[in-house]
Amino acid sequence: MINQKKSTPISPDLSISIGGLGLKNPVLLASGTCGYGMELDDLLDLDQIGGIIIKGLSIRPRPGNSPPRLVETPCGLLNSIGLENMGIEAFLRDKLPLLRNIKTPLIVNILGNSVEEYFEMARRLDGAEGIKAIEVNISCPNVKAGGIAFGTDPETAASVTHAVKKATGLPIIIKLTPNVTDITEIARKVASAGADAISLINTLLGMAIDIKFRRPALANVFGGLSGPAIKPVALRMVWQVVRAVDIPVIGIGGISTPDDALEFLMAGARAVEIGTATLIRPSTAEEVLTGIRDYMKTNNVQNVKNLRLPA
């Protein structure tokens, strides 16, 4: 059992595997909060982290939304960056070569406005040296279907998954949006469409009003809520999805301490991603990792998978 104290300290095994991709530990940097990777160099030992998920790339560069793009809310952050990015070509050409020096697996996050765009991007990443997996952000509006997010309709979510799987042999992680009635329905569809893993949650749709200037605080009116405020919702969804599908689940949402991460691992997440917390404290991922290892030592947990609760 977990709480036995042994005299010989164990050296816990934190390595995991996601869709065939082996990671030395389960603590990843979440997309959109670690830039293109190198920005964090020197503030965080990138080699120690389980994986780095590059900010969302689109087929063409995107300028993003007008400012203001950020508002702080109670224990939360609302952002409407508008998926600003340099586009997949510029990334492959200018950034990827520098990133090949890092020993930690690189995962690229992609977003699109049509199933075809997702297919096309996955195809281009397929051959790229140094990219170990693709995380597919399906929270984006489907332009052909009147702007409804891919991730809110089970069929569309499944067709994106199909398309991406067809385009590449890389492991595919589908990243779910929490703004749905039944997250398990989407998760099941995505799993049967061939996803290698599921990550969740993306941000909750929210807004704030600037009462001084009498206008929405974000120029875009709505934004995505992240940070500690959303942790209970994220954890609930991870718990549900872990029990609904057989593929690995990566937990995201408000993780800023080792205890937060342990909650997700106990809920059954195979790994966790650190998002907003990295913005506030760049070294968070390393500290979370150390804390998980210490907990496992103290509580004599040999393998990180054994943290999962039975129920």
Binding site: E39, L43, P228
Partner: protein, 264 residues
Amino acid sequence: MPGFDIPANIVEQTRLAHSIFLLTVDAPAIMDSTDPGQFCMLEVQENNSKDPLLRRPLSIYKTGSNGQISFLYKAVGKGTRLLSKRRPGEIIRVLGPLGQGFRLIHDCTSILVGGGLGIASLLLLAQGIKQSGRLIILIGAKNAAEIPTVEDFSRLTRYFHVVTEDGSLGQRGMITDLLDQTLQEITGTARIYTCGPWSMMKAVYHMVSKRNIPCQVSLEAAMACGIGLCLGCAIPKSNSRGFLHVCQEGPVFDADQVHWGQNS
């Protein structure tokens, strides 16, 4: 190199005026590599409280020979008010030095235009210019209490002028009038460095751009990370659809780069 994230010991926290404070911390690594116009992100919460969630950006006002750096700030909201309660002996996390500071150009007349607490990003610059060229400092504020540290500036140059809206310090008047007057008097090439409210900087820029005088401005934006991770601190560029990112490409920009029409 995005700076150092240091648990810094608080050496001094002095209230200079009603809601204006001078905070000094031990941060040798930051001090050693600070350029004029750079800033830090400061943790304001205590005891792992997550509200407020974000760090707050403050310009590096002063550096001491003993590894200390100081911030001159106004307690305007939740975060800065919490910061003002932190006491000497406590530890506070400081990330810095961050961003692109002022680009010093020597061999010309440098005119520094500071509005209110905008002066917080100008002192190191003024000290730097003093070594090498002619330095004119113009400071404007609502009243004397808003700029409790003017002596730090006035001692650097003879060409020092301050105006306040209520006449409580220096002449009564607007900084733009003072600048206009100064521009008429100077001879030779000049450069402008300014920091203050958006509307003031906009007016300064319009005034000097007509005369083709180069102008550097130090801007503010809501920030989450301060190091280029989140892309939240965008402001519109002057001549394209794209955006500048205040924390990484700024906070100091050539005024020409900035789209001044919006955000006013």
